[in-house]
């Protein structure tokens, strides 16, 4: 179906819905006593993590093991990378070792793209987050979570048509926001991004989103879901905003804003959360918060992606 998963921009509506449907099948098997499926038996997958991310790595590892793949975890720390080996040399080494698929997290935007496009290695590549570019499996799990919550048992083969989603926070540096904007749009949702002007990317007017600086005005309009993004405190020092208090007052999902929110508005956060900064604990722990659903669904979505890129490859090539 797809040779690699690098960006949600590359997914057609049909492909995205198929991935969400397969995720639902995976969720079904996850409810069994024996959660393991043999689909990737005999396949070796390397989780190539050049950047710390316990959550994403474990989610992929669980997904790989549920599909019976052999898993190699490669983290930049303690590897030859720390000794100055080039990216290309590392990849060529993995090729010679005969891995069947690469899941890559990298601080450089575009690193997974190079892996997929260059002749350094010829196996399926899954982007597990690259720089400030994309994090496609996060967007897929967000879409899956929204779809499952909205449509329940009749979610299969549906998109997110008509869903109104508000994304709040550091859009400029967020790979989660980018992947979500493309995917939500592809699936038929309407997206509004809200942030201080300093944290909005240049050229945003060419993207399929509405833009606002005023969170209260946006939340006063009907919406179906609010996605809060993590804001890193180091942005303060780079003069993107004055201080945490002012950010929170202007763009946080504070207790007061949460209380004004309709109880059927879904609340999402990709984690890890800065409680009391971009999101209040009351909002994070509310029944309408899907934060824990997101974590659980992450495994099923990643199983679906792994299954999709790693099977049928002989036919494709």
């Amino acid at each position: 179906m797809i040779p690699h998963l690098i960006s949600t921009r590359d997914l057609s509506r049909e492909q995205a819905i198929a991935l969400l449907d397969i995720s639902a099948d995976m969720a079904e098997s996850g409810a069994r006593e024996n959660k393991k499926l043999p689909a990737l038996r005999g396949k070796t997958i390397v989780n190539l993590f050049y950047e710390d991310s316990t959550r994403t790595r474990i989610s992929f590892e669980v997904a790989e093991k549920r599909l019976s793949a052999d898993v190699i975890n490669f983290s930049a720390k303690g590897s030859s990378v720390a000794k100055g080996e080039s990216f290309k040399d590392t990849i060529v080494t993995l090729r010679e070792m005969g891995v069947d698929g690469v899941v890559i997290r990298h601080p450089s935007s575009g690193a997974p793209h190079l892996l997929a496009e260059r002749d350094w290695i010829d196996v399926p590549v899954i982007n597990a987050g690259d720089g400030t570019h994309e994090h496609p499996t996060q967007a897929l799990l967000d879409a899956y979570t929204l779809r499952a919550k909205r449509w329940g048992d009749s979610a299969r083969s549906k998109g997110l048509d008509g869903l109104r989603v508000v994304i709040v926070g550091d859009i400029l540096h967020s790979r989660v926001a980018r992947s979500n904007i493309w995917l939500l749009h592809t699936l038929g949702a309407t997206v509004t991004v809200v942030a201080p002007p300093t944290l909005l990317p240049p050229g945003l007017s060419e993207w399929p989103v509405s833009v606002s600086y005023d969170l209260d005005a946006v939340l006063a309009q009907p919406c179906d879901a609010v996605m809060m993004l993590r804001v890193q405190s180091e942005r303060m020092r780079a003069a993107y905003f004055p201080n945490a208090h002012e950010y929170s007052a202007g763009w946080g999902l504070t207790l007061e804003r949460f209380h004004r929110l309709s109880p059927d508005v879904m609340i999402l956060h990709p984690g890890p959360m800065n409680r009391g900064f971009e999101i209040s604990s009351a909002a994070a722990d509310a029944t309408q918060s899907l934060v824990l659903d997101q974590v659980a669904n992450g495994v099923f979505v990643r199983m679906a992606v792994l299954y999709s890129v790693l099977t049928g490859t002989e036919v494709m090539s």
Partner: protein, 178 residues
């Protein structure tokens, strides 16, 4: 391409009824029986067989579906297959499970089904019911209940149509025009 109908609607119904009788006979009744269809047409056939058993014996045997996609040994060689739902309504531990499929050919689908079943539990007995057995087995697998044995060449295609999915009940063989 020429197409040759080998089972009409009445033939299909008769075959299903006969399979239902045979299942009841060899199982000495309907106790402990679970019918699991292999998607998609196997599920439809299982439903028909269950209905036939109900009309003979008055008992509604448990009925489910067993997807085997993830257990196939040809995942690399086929275009991506989207899995179908697995739905097993009862505990299959100690049950007599009858797997139901439309066509038995290489035997690889049944092999995958046996693996899938193993992951769900340990039935006492597993049987296989198919509407058509067209031969050309690649594995040591045989069906316990067969609607029709249909010797065919590997160049031919056997198509099973069922009214629920295809609008009509029939089985035909397609072959390349000479």
């Amino acid at each position: 391409m020429t197409s040759n109908i080998v089972m009409q609607s009445a033939d299909v119904t008769r075959a299903i009824t006969r399979i239902a009788h045979e299942i009841l006979e060899s199982n000495r009744g309907s106790s402990n029986l679970v019918l699991l269809g292999i998607p998609t047409r196997g599920v439809t056939l299982a439903r028909r067989i269950a209905a036939a058993i109900a009309s003979i014996d008055g008992v509604h045997v448990p009925l489910g579906s067993l997807d085997v996609t993830m257990y196939r040994d040809d995942l690399q060689k086929q275009p991506l297959r989207e899995p179908a739902p697995t739905n097993v309504p009862v505990d299959i531990e100690h049950a007599t499970v009858v797997l139901v499929d439309d066509v038995l050919y290489s035997g690889r689908t049944v092999r995958a089904a046996l693996d899938a079943l193993t992951d769900l539990g340990r039935p006492d007995v597993v049987r296989l019911a198919v509407l058509v057995d067209r031969g050309h087995r690649e594995l040591p697998i045989r069906a316990d209940y067969v609607g029709k044995n249909l010797p065919s060449s590997s160049g031919e295609r056997v198509n099973v149509s069922l009214s629920e999915t295809d609008g009509v009940d029939s089985v035909d063989i397609e072959r390349e025009a000479p």
